[in-house]
Amino acid sequence: MHSSITIVGASLAGVRAAEALRTEGFKGNIKLLGDEPHIAYDRPPLSKSFLEGEMASEKLSLLTTEKINELKLEIRTDSKVSNLDIETQTLEVKGEVEEFDALIIATGARARKLPDTEKINGIHTLRSLDDSIKIRDSFKAGNPKVVVVGGGFIGCEVAATASTLGIEVTVVESQDVPLSHVLGEEAGKVISELHIDNGVQLKCGVEVQEIKGEDKVEGVLLEDGTLLEADLVVVGIGAVPNTEWLENSGLTIENGVCCDQTCLAAPNIVAAGDVARWEHQGYGKSIRLEHWDNAAEQGKHAALRLLQTEAEALPYAPIPWFWSDQFDRKIQLAGISDPEDDFEVIVDSPGEGRYTAIYGNEGRLKAVLGINRPRHVMQFKSLMENKASWKEALEFARGIG
């Protein structure tokens, strides 16, 4: 049995890992190291309710002082880990070398930035509490013109929040239809129309050429020559797993920390959350997810893996699931959708803002998309867990459509 487990990354996956260790009866020392000044907090509201300005930052906390004491956690904020050596089982934390018996890597991902824009004020990505506070403050200051670069889920959420606050906002998206690389064109259009109906300007099928402004952002020049005036630019062009500190570690890094089916990256080392790429038994390939539910569940699974023998270890093979709140719509996707999949709309009720569609290929149900249809999403998610065929899914759909 290990006497000390170190968790690098104090966000959702790391916190859930720590909780799981104690629930499972682990009595040793647990160190939880985070590189931010804040103690672990919940991120989904940062682009939604928190950004709208209704919520105090304390409400986001994932760990109360009481909980930290109860779990007997040694928590260190502002503690960036710069190196790992898997042979000697040591970490370098702010220049000091520390040993560990077992390690949970949960360093997450960071928002991808537009190149060469660091010196221009008013350009933000949205990942941390501090990012959200800066954007929120800018929303409140006067009547800013906002340009969102990237029409993915984060970009769409920021645009929806800005628009709800009465702020003029334009989304620039390089694809012809936002989200179509995930949801396909037809479903992507349903979400585009939601934004257009609510006053968001969409500029699609065009790339950003240049950000205008010396010290402070003044506009966004697009490749088609359009110049969008902007006081604030929010960039939502994806995330990059935080693996640089592992480059010399001896672990395999390929767009994430590569793990086996059970989340094990090396003996006594597991990874979880946005940073982890693992062999998903159900999909027969390695995947990496950036979802709230996955960070929570994988954190738990990976932690327990450290307490198990190889024979006891179970594969981690969930049906992925996430949600996105935009305007008064709850958009949920379960499974993994592909624009090339078979696609069937089950419910399309624009008046009620309700929509359900399913995705399938090779005769299997692969994903379900629901807009204000959480019940359907969960029903189809259960079907996926039972490895339902496309035919069975369509039969079930006839009963609920």
């Binding site: 859930r16 989904p44 709230w292 539910d293 929570a296 569940e297 738990k300 699931w321 949600w323 709140d325 709850k330 949920q332 204000n372 959480p374 019940r375 999403v377 969960m378 998610k381 259960s382």
Partner: protein, 63 residues
């Protein structure tokens, strides 16, 4: 044990319904209904999973 839902927090994500359909149901009106407020002890592990996986942390267990 008793299931307590904070309906001010609940956003009807419905993950609880998938984990414990005998206890939670999100109906066609999009609201969550607690079908069994005092489930038997053998339902504890599913109930605890529902508590943990609720994105709004809206569910708790009173002993």
């Amino acid at each position: 044990m008793r299931v307590v839902v904070d309906f001010d927090l609940c956003e009807s994500n419905a993950i609880c319904m998938q984990i414990a359909p005998d206890i939670f149901e999100v109906r066609d009106d999009d609201f969550l209904y607690v079908l069994d407020e005092t489930p038997s002890e053998d339902r504890r592990s599913n109930l605890e999973e529902s508590v943990q996986r609720c994105p709004k942390q809206a569910i708790s267990i009173e002993e």
